[in-house]
């Protein structure tokens, strides 16, 4: 048995996972319309490659990566592009963003797919290019482009590849059921990742509350060199930094990345997507989403096409809108509320939670912080949330940074334990955003100052140049006058006037003679 480590803090919220595990993964089918936001991942938005009215096939690339940290987007089903416009997207702001809208024709017609015959013959860079072209962004929740993460740092050697099957958030079972039903595919994906990264060891971390998944994975991993490691259930052990500490005892340096300590972390869903992309040539066009909560009649896991409206999933699961006050994308700890059930499923939608009003009651009014310290005991980053709370309220930026606000992973453990029901995470999010905004403003002010000063120097320089020219001209004129005076004892201006007069007189004389 491998030694597993513990991380500081953590909590044990009610798991509520059994509800959605009763039935196997079922397909959500093809909805009438798919809405595909151009930004479903971290990084630059994708750039559309199709026109309104164009017919697209399932799996066809409809938008290309908008930068290095970006991914392309593919049509999840065949149909016609009916609009490229702003639509509400799943985002805590409830705002709209550019989306490609496809009216499905129901034929679900694939483009020609071309898988790699044997990935072991391919160069890692080739495989990375394929992963990138397949539009794979981290399936765990953050949505970081997988190819960028796998490319890592030039020159850095990877010691450990960690596959994250932890799924520590209550309610969510998308990874759990994937591990139970598709362990083979996960292992295929891992084999490709191993070929790319060449790590010394591969660890597949699963919490011990998923015995069926562990059994399936162990059976599939036998003889492959992939070690399935189970460890005690505790939220947030699925956080990348926490999982790394559990499995290796190492901590990712603050402000750094796992690759700095020779570790790369990928989600099990990402591993399956990588396998699909390399072996089958299939881009990322669907994912597994858990639909659960007391406000749906039949909770379960759906294999759903990206862009499917949440409403479609809710209908499949027998949603009772009257019982539900909030729709949450993600889990109850880190998920965010949706403004409307019409927003689409995106690459990071691991769960759609529809709690009944009594199940997750509305937050009661916040009471005063009594500094009980339960939050500090629960914080997986060993922060002092109660202190951060005071500083956030006082907008004490220096103190917030000194107390390492930016190491907060927003897991919500502090708010969960807070006996005074203070929305601590919201304070930290707002403070982080304010500080970042201030930094941006300051950068912009600095740039404006430089431009202003550059302009000032330019204006003074031009002024000086003009002044210098004028002075030079004046000096030259004076010099000439002096020269003339010295030569002929005559004022040159006077001389010029004389010459002009003489000329005029001479001219008048000639005209007169001509007339005569």
């Amino acid at each position: 048995m491998r030694r597993v480590f513990d991380f500081h803090g953590g909590i044990h919220p009610a798991e509520n996972k059994a509800q959605s595990l009763a039935s196997p993964i079922c397909s959500a089918g093809v909805p009438q319309q798919l809405v595909l936001p151009l930004s479903q991942h971290i990084g630059a938005a994708s750039r559309p490659l199709v026109q309104v009215g164009e017919r697209v096939l399932k799996g066809q690339m409809i938008a290309e990566a908008g930068g290095y940290v970006s991914v392309p987007l593919h049509a999840p089903s065949s149909g016609t592009v009916s609009a490229i416009e702003d639509r509400p997207i799943p985002h805590p702001s409830g705002l709209s963003a550019p989306c490609i809208v496809i009216d499905c024709d129901g034929r679900d017609e694939w483009i020609a797919l071309q898988g790699v015959a044997d990935f072991r013959d391919c160069e890692p860079t080739e495989l990375l290019e394929l992963i990138r072209a397949a539009g794979i962004a981290g399936m765990g929740g953050a949505g970081f482009p997988a190819a960028v993460k796998l490319a890592g740092k030039p020159g850095a050697s990877i010691k450990t590849l960690i596959i994250n099957g932890t799924e520590c958030e209550p309610y969510i079972t998308a990874d759990d059921i994937l591990m139970q039903e598709r362990a083979e595919q996960i292992l295929e994906g891992i084999a490709i990742l191993r070929h790319i990264l060449q790590p010394q060891e591969v660890l597949l971390g699963v919490e011990d509350n998923k015995p069926a998944a562990i059994a399936a994975l162990e059976a599939a991993a036998r003889g492959s060199g992939v070690e399935v490691v189970s460890f005690p259930t505790k939220y947030p052990s699925g956080g990348e930094k926490q999982l790394i500490e559990i499995l290796t005892g190492k901590q990712v340096p603050s402000g750094g990345l796992p690759v700095d300590i020779g570790i790369v972390c990928q989600n099990v869903g990402t591993a399956v997507a990588v396998g699909d992309a390399i072996l089958g040539g299939r881009p990322l066009i669907s994912r597994i989403t858990t639909v659960t909560g007391e406000a749906v009649a039949t909770p379960g896991n759906f294999e759903v096409l990206l862009g499917t409206p949440m409403q479609h999933l809710l209908d499949l699961a027998g949603f009772q809108p009257k019982r539900c006050e909030r729709l949450i994308m993600g889990g109850p700890m880190m998920g965010f509320t949706l403004a409307s059930p019409l927003v689409p499923v995106v690459k990071t939608s691991n769960c759609l939670l529809t709690p009944a009003s009594a199940e997750l009651p509305a937050p009661p009014p916040a009471q005063a912080c009594i500094r009980c310290g339960l939050c500090a005991q629960a914080c997986p980053a060993s922060l002092l949330p109660q202190q951060l709370y005071w500083f956030a309220r006082g907008k004490e930026v220096d103190k917030l940074e000194q107390h390492n606000l930016f190491d907060c992973i927003e897991c919500g453990a502090c708010s969960w334990v807070c006996p005074s029901h203070i929305p601590l995470v919201q304070y930290y999010r707002a403070s982080k955003a304010d500080i970042l905004q201030q930094r941006r403003d300051h950068e912009k002010a600095e740039q404006a100052r430089l431009r202003f000063e550059a302009r000032q120097t330019r204006i003074t320089r031009e002024e000086e140049e003009r002044e210098a020219k004028r002075a030079a001209r004046k000096q030259a004129a004076e010099k000439r006058a002096e020269q003339a005076a010295a030569e002929g004892g005559e004022d040159p201006v006077q001389a010029a006037i004389e010459r002009a007069k003489a000329k005029k007189a001479a001219a008048a004389g000639t005209t007169e003679t001509e007339i005569r």
Partner: protein
């Protein structure tokens, strides 16, 4: 369908402030029972009258400050302050003494600083110290314990509290008083000659301390607070007592066991210094905070002017709490050293 938009987390644990406070109140019961058994109904009357005054002051202050009293009274914090102060006061104290103490605690130490959570000093101890400095005679008059004198009944206790004549109580020096004034007898002889000393630390006192210890351990078990501050305080106190025990000579400060089980040691360790608002916040901070209080308690008891010292020690440590916090910031995940800048 109107959907709620709130920041995560959406789930919440079952603990809330009023449960915590209620548990603290429950945990004081064994101590109150033992005090009542040994010293009569004085403590009980103190506590009940203090609660009445406390709730009245709190309601007034909340209403004046524009808070909803009906909602904020439910946090039970004022009851905790009142009960703790009622326990700390000598039994059979006159009603006005208690009222002044509670009013100072609730109005001055708590609401003038901004209410629950904002007070830099422990309100109960502020109330206690205000009384101790203003009315030293009344505050040092402890009744003799059961076994040394007749223990008054409930009616007498009420009379003592509420009638102008008061209760013509027989008062007796506490063991800590006796020990402080002793400069000629060996401890062994002192124990023989003076009636107050029980088996370890004074009749009544030792059992009261054990009862508060039991309450404290229950609170630890319920995870209302962590062990760090109480254990650090008791360890520091016992260590100093052991160092200066002096083999029980006439100049001895008393044995570690004596200090652990006399006066307000256990009450202070588990009910006063664990007040989270005015103490240090981090684990290491609470260790330092507790040890500081333990050391101060011993210093003041043995070389100071007052027989017991928990109140002063706590207030002094409250002053030091922000300073302790500054130097005991825990090491954040991914950082090399503590409190370092990223």
């Amino acid at each position: 369908m109107a959907l709620m938009r709130v920041s995560s987390p959406h789930a919440h644990g079952s603990i809330n402030t009023s449960t915590v406070m209620r548990q603290v109140l429950l945990a004081t019961l064994p101590g109150i029972a033992v005090l009542t058994y040994f010293f009569g109904f004085g403590t009980l009357v103190n506590v009940l009258w203090a609660c009445l005054v406390g709730v009245a002051c709190e309601t007034l202050a909340l209403a004046l400050r524009g808070y909803s009293p009906a909602f904020y009274l439910k946090d039970y914090s004022v009851l905790v302050t009142s009960v703790l102060l009622g326990i700390a006061l000598p039994p059979y104290a006159p009603w006005w003494l208690i009222a002044i103490g509670v009013a100072s605690a609730v109005l001055m130490a708590k609401h003038l600083y901004g209410g629950l959570g904002y007070n830099p000093f422990n309100p109960a101890m502020v109330g206690y110290v205000v009384l101790l400095i203003s009315f030293p005679v009344q505050m040092t008059a402890w009744a003799p314990p059961r076994g040394l004198a007749e223990v008054p009944g409930l009616w007498q206790a009420l009379q003592a509290c509420f009638t102008p004549a008061g209760f013509d109580a027989v008062t007796m020096a506490t063991p800590l008083d006796v020990l402080r004034q002793n400069d000629s007898l060996l401890l062994e002889d002192l124990w023989q000659e003076t009636t107050q000393f029980g088996r370890w630390a004074g009749i009544g006192w030792e059992w009261a301390n054990l009862a508060f210890l039991a309450g404290g351990i229950w609170l630890l078990y319920r995870r209302v607070f962590t062990w760090h501050a109480p254990v650090a305080m008791l360890a520091a106190l016992a260590l100093l007592a052991a160092l200066f025990h002096d083999g029980g000579s006439s100049a001895s400060g008393g044995s570690p066991l004596f200090h652990l089980l006399s006066g307000a040691t256990m009450f202070g360790a588990f009910f006063i210094i664990t007040d989270p608002v005015s103490s240090a916040v981090s684990v290491r901070g609470r260790l330092v905070f507790g040890a500081l209080i333990g050391a101060l308690v011993y210093l003041i008891r043995v070389w100071g002017n007052y027989p017991d010292a928990v109140a002063f020690a706590v207030l002094i440590a409250n002053f030091a709490a922000p300073f302790i916090d500054h130097y005991t910031q825990p090491r954040t995940y991914g950082h090399q050293k503590t409190g370092g800048k990223s």
